[in-house]
């Protein structure tokens, strides 16, 4: 059974005013448990609005959101529970940090869940470890940390609620390459250990290509596609046409294909491209070198 499902989900902002705008338009979607999903789309494509429906921050104008097969709005009082089960990390989450210590800030979510101190402590320690924060940092004020560390504290704050589904809105925005790789690799490791469902919104196809099993593309309030990563990159030209950037390496292989060098595969990461090229070169050359 799908862990998250939307049925004809529609959301319209400022109904009845001159600014009325449909941000999500009849979206049908099924996300299976344990998947790592990359979410893409322009600013204003509706992706941010869409993800805010998954944890009940926004209520659909029409249509449904199902979590574990249950309509999350069936009982309004349950909505806070839904937020614990579907953790949402906003863009630039370090700006929501407010406690005096890193420990307390990570504990804010679990504490709101009404857990006991022992369980809170276990979770804080575990997530801090998962996201690569050293234990001695927990006693420090979060405001003394570097930008990348603060971001990880904020992410840990949501992870510590141990949500079934974790959604991250551009977790690497504004970071340098080292900070970006660190966060992505920690999230990946967390995913592999927990086997939970993760959705990552990103503008960088190159980042998404590196980890996502599936890719969801929003365009002009509609679901453009939701499919296996390889299949989505198979439509690289269409994706370029709606103005999204495909990885540089994909562009190279598209061009090669046009020039008559077709490898019959969609290429979207450098290691894959290397292996593919070497295999073809060696395959033809026979032994070892090229």
């Amino acid at each position: 059974m799908a862990i998250l499902e939307t049925q004809q989900l529609t959301y319209t902002y400022s109904i009845g005013s001159p600014f009325e705008k449909t941000a999500v338009d009849h979206v049908d979607l099924k996300i299976e448990e344990g998947e790592m999903v990359g979410v893409m789309g322009h600013t204003g494509s509706g992706k941010s609005t869409l993800i805010q429906h998954f944890n009940g921050l926004l209520r659909p104008t029409s249509g449904k959101v199902l979590l574990d097969g249950q309509d999350i709005w069936a009982d309004k009082k349950r909505i806070r529970d839904v937020r614990f089960q579907v953790g949402l990390v906003f863009q630039y989450p370090e700006y929501q940090i407010f406690e005096e210590t890193v420990f307390k800030d990570i504990a804010f979510g679990p504490r709101n869940m009404g857990l006991d101190e022992k369980e809170i402590k276990r979770r804080v320690l575990e997530t801090a470890h998962d996201i690569g924060l050293k234990e001695e940092l927990l006693k420090r004020s979060p405001f003394e940390l570097s930008g990348g560390q603060k971001r990880r504290v904020a992410i840990a704050g949501v992870m510590a609620m141990e949500p079934k589904v974790l959604i991250l809105d551009e977790p690497t925005a504004g970071l340098d390459p080292a900070g970006r790789d660190k966060i992505l690799s920690h999230i990946k490791a967390y995913h592999e250990r927990k086997k939970n469902t993760i959705l990552i919104v990103s503008h960088s196809m190159e980042d998404i290509a590196g980890f996502a099993d599936k890719i969801l593309v929003m365009n002009k309030a509609k679901l453009f596609c939701y499919d296996d990563t390889e299949k989505v990159f198979g439509r690289a030209e269409e994706i370029s046409a709606i103005g999204l950037d495909v990885p540089q390496i994909t562009k190279v292989f598209l061009e090669l294909k046009k020039q008559g060098l077709d490898f019959g595969k969609e290429v979207y990461t450098v290691p894959y491209a290397r292996d593919l090229l070497l295999r073809h070169l060696q395959g033809k050359a026979g032994e070892g070198q090229c």
């Binding site: 805010q52 921050l57 937020r83 906003f90 407010f98 704050g157």
Partner: protein, 272 residues
């Protein structure tokens, strides 16, 4: 949502009222307020009402918008009206229960007060609807500029005002975002006991303060980089030039003011 606040909202347009010099508009609004408070009877308010309706018509701003700015004050208006009706003791008595009395005087005062306040709100809304906040600040700065001679920091105040105006939408958006983020961590902002709500307010206020200070710091640097050095020797891109229509508008307002006073005197003489 927070985004829907309409206080001081400006409605861009090109009506006659929009085009008036903001300095004149401020002066005219002040005269208008005087006018509403000079007359002490319903008939004289009618003059004010006619004036208001003409101005509203000329501004091409839908009446609905004025209703929007009056609406939030309705409960306050109604409570004071009821208190006036029940407590004022003058004229014919219609109803009496213990110390509470409904009298013609009370009803008169209530109705009078409601009309006066509604007109007041409509008039000042007209000023803010037809003048962008920044133009308004600018006009205030210029109207107050004689005070510079008294070492009053007119420019600094105006600069503070205009920066505040500039950052209102930014901060509203930011507050919205932080609220959503904390809600996503299970913070109860609209529900829960007083203590949990207070605690949760902290989770919003602390980040908001921190980010505001960061913004202030960055903005100060950016202003320095653009050679900001206080009001001394500054020139302005926005030029204000009074046109004949501004003078005419002022004269018309003064005529209405005189009319209101006249009507008020005549009415007083007649009723005595």
């Amino acid at each position: 949502m927070l985004r829907d606040v309409t206080i001081g909202q400006y409605f861009p347009g090109n009506s006659l009222i929009h085009r008036l010099d903001p300095r004149f508009k401020i002066v005219i609004t002040l005269i208008y307020i005087l006018m509403l408070f000079t007359g002490s009877n319903v008939v004289c308010l009618a003059v004010g009402a006619v004036y208001t309706l003409i101005a509203v018509y000329l501004s091409r701003i839908p009446l609905k918008m004025f209703w929007k700015s009056v609406k939030p004050l309705l409960p306050f208006l109604l409570i004071t009206a009821v208190l006036n009706i029940l407590l004022v003791d003058s004229g014919d008595v219609y109803f009496k229960w213990k110390f509470l009395k409904i009298t013609s005087g009370g009803i008169n005062i209530s109705v009078f007060m409601i009309i006066r306040i509604v007109l007041l709100i409509m008039g000042s809304s007209l000023l803010t609807y037809t003048t962008s906040p920044i133009t308004l600040t600018d006009a205030i700065e210029r109207l107050l500029s004689p005070l510079k001679l008294l070492k009053f920091p007119v420019h600094e105040l105006a600069m503070m005002m205009s920066i505040a105006l500039r950052f209102v939408p930014t901060l509203i958006e930011e507050t919205d975002k932080i609220m959503s983020a904390q809600k996503a961590r299970g913070a109860e902002i609209d529900t829960g006991s007083f203590m949990t709500r207070a605690k949760n307010m902290i989770s919003i206020l602390v980040p908001l303060f921190i980010s505001s200070f960061r913004r202030a710091d960055e903005l100060a640097t950016a202003m320095e980089c653009r050679c900001y050095n206080g009001g001394e020797g500054r020139t302005r891109l926005r030029q204000l030039r009074a046109a004949p229509r501004d003078v005419i508008a002022l004269v018309i307002t003064l005529i209405f003011y005189a009319a209101a006073i006249a009507v008020s005197i005549v009415f007083k003489l007649l009723t005595q």
